[in-house]
């Protein structure tokens, strides 16, 4: 049983968790830093407490303060949301040692999947395909070049310890290899304190397809179909949809089965996502990584399945979740999510901060969801990520969902900060997006869309 949940997060996901707690008849406790005092997650929760921190950027990462608030307010569970401490195995353990329930996978799962190399090895050992690649710590330039050419060009060169696309480059010609490897190695040791370089065969025409899984913690797991998150800018997702269209049914079945193999092997507990790269030229797919948390884009899955993933997480943690038979999970229609960011498309997408003089989201309905952690007059500060809101539209068809999204984005009124609303509208009404499934290269191939 769970009676009260500490929501160790901010923004739209904190609001989402507070609402799910209410639906599950569980009390919620919010935490906040000084800039978030007036935020919706604070006013909506049953209780709210300030977080002590040297700076607002550190607040939601302050494990000691979070545990102290959880104890003092009588919480018996902690929901970490995504980002911040969601994939911190040490914090998950600390919560469990304090006698509370961690609403997420075991610290062991977080640990294994958090190490990209070990995750890859585990996947490969279970027969799940991985992109041919290798980590090189050797400093011999000749060895590096040989390794790269043996993988086959073009090759992706990246910092082994890095993330978020920092220092990633594609090399097409053997003559350019050495310079690229050297530059990445320098960057890697400077930024990540680890000069290891990772080389991977580059798939020129790829889609990012991920399978939503839900494990019961006992070796059984279900899948909730897949999401297509191919539209990205600088390796960051901009638009997500479900299901993935234009992929052969047997390939989708193989992806789902691979995702379940990974989930079952580690007796995965709760919501997780297994990400794959789908090669549109060969039809092959490869395991990328597994995210051991609820994801930003989970609502598109909820819109097509009718399931409430966050409520399922809470009920599982409370020991009250009745197993959902795989055969009973049906996918209906199509859902699209757009991430509305505070950024300046015309100025290299630099962050945009300021007071939300006007902030009026489009009206919600059964076919349109808006998830936000902001309200009119709130300050958008440089301390946190630029996500202002997520708009999720459902339709019988992909085209119908896109048309509904286009109208919703047009009705979204925001003044005080600049946003990517224009770009999002241009994407969801773009002929190339509507007529076929876009690849991860869509935005770099259609630069005019970026500043629409």
């Amino acid at each position: 049983m769970i009676g009260k949940v500490l929501v160790a997060n901010r923004g739209e996901i904190a609001v989402r968790i507070v609402r799910a707690c209410r639906r599950c008849n569980v009390k919620s406790v919010a935490v906040y830093t000084e800039p978030d005092q007036g935020a919706p997650h604070v006013s909506l929760a049953d209780e709210a407490y300030p977080l002590e921190a040297a700076s607002p950027a550190q607040g939601y990462l302050n494990q000691t303060a979070l545990l102290a608030i959880a104890r003092a307010s009588g919480c018996d569970a902690v929901h970490p949301g995504y980002g911040f401490l969601a994939e911190n195995a040490q914090f998950a353990s600390a919560v469990e040692h304090a006698g509370m329930v961690w609403i997420g996978p075991t610290p062991q799962s977080i640990d294994i999947m958090g190490n990209k190399q070990r995750a890859r090895e585990l996947a490969a050992s279970l027969g799940v395909p991985v992109v041919p690649g290798r980590t090189l710590t050797a400093c011999e330039d000749v060895t590096l070049v040989q390794a790269a050419t043996s993988l086959g060009l073009p090759v992706l060169v990246k910092a082994s310890g890095g993330g978020g696309g920092i220092g990633m480059r594609v090399v097409e010609r053997e003559d350019d290899l050495l310079a690229a490897i050297r530059a990445t190695r320098d960057l890697a040791s400077k930024y990540f304190g680890d000069a290891a370089v990772y080389l991977e065969r580059f798939v020129p025409s790829a889609r990012h397809i991920e399978v939503q899984v839900f494990g019961y913690g006992d070796g059984k797991a279900i899948h909730l179909y897949e999401r297509d998150c191919s539209i990205q800018r600088r390796y960051q997702k901009v638009i997500e949809e479900a299901p993935a269209v234009d992929v052969p049914q047997q390939t989708l079945q193989a992806m789902r089965s691979a995702a379940l193999t990974l989930a079952c092997d580690q007796e995965y507990r709760g919501a997780g996502t297994v990400e794959f790269l789908y090669d549109t030229e060969t039809g092959s797919f490869y395991f990328l990584e597994m995210n051991t948390r609820i994801q930003v884009e989970h609502p598109v899955t909820e819109m097509i399945t009718g399931l409430d993933l966050v409520a399922m997480q809470i009920e599982l943690a409370a020991g009250k979740l009745a197993a959902v038979p795989q055969a009973s999970i049906k996918a209906a229609g199509h859902a699209i999510e757009c991430r509305v960011y505070a950024e300046r498309p015309a100025k290299r997408f630099l962050p945009s901060t300021g007071r939300l003089e006007v902030f009026v989201p489009p009206p919600e309905s059964a076919d349109l969801r808006v998830e936000t952690g902001y309200s009119q007059n709130m300050q958008v500060t440089h301390f946190y990520d630029p996500l202002l809101a997520k708009v999720i539209a459902w339709g019988q068809s992909r085209q119908a969902a896109a048309a509904r999204m286009h109208r919703a984005l047009g009705a979204f009124q925001i003044r005080g900060v600049e946003t990517n609303l224009g770009m999002l509208r241009a994407i969801v009404s773009h002929e190339a997006v509507l007529s076929s499934a876009p690849t991860t290269q869509f935005l770099s191939q259609h630069p005019q869309v970026l500043t629409a």
């Binding site: 700076s55 950027a57 920092i166 505070a342 950024e343 100025k347 630099l350 962050p351 901060t353 500060t381 440089h382 301390f383 946190y384 990520d385 630029p386």
Partner: protein, 74 residues
Amino acid sequence: MSTTRIESEVNARVLRVEVTVGDNVTVDDVLMVLESMKMEIPVQSSVAGRVSAVHAAAGDTVEEGQLLIELSQS
């Protein structure tokens, strides 16, 4: 001798300062790295010159339009 003022384009926190007074820099050299909304934003030199003043240190909070670095060109 002319002076070029490098100002911040965003509200941010200074993550690192990559140069000190007296350094020679060329166009596009990274002078400073700012952090805003969880993104690293490099501040690059718009000219070739010598660093004549550094007005922000790692950990400082800077505002859009705030003077960060002055460069002198001969």
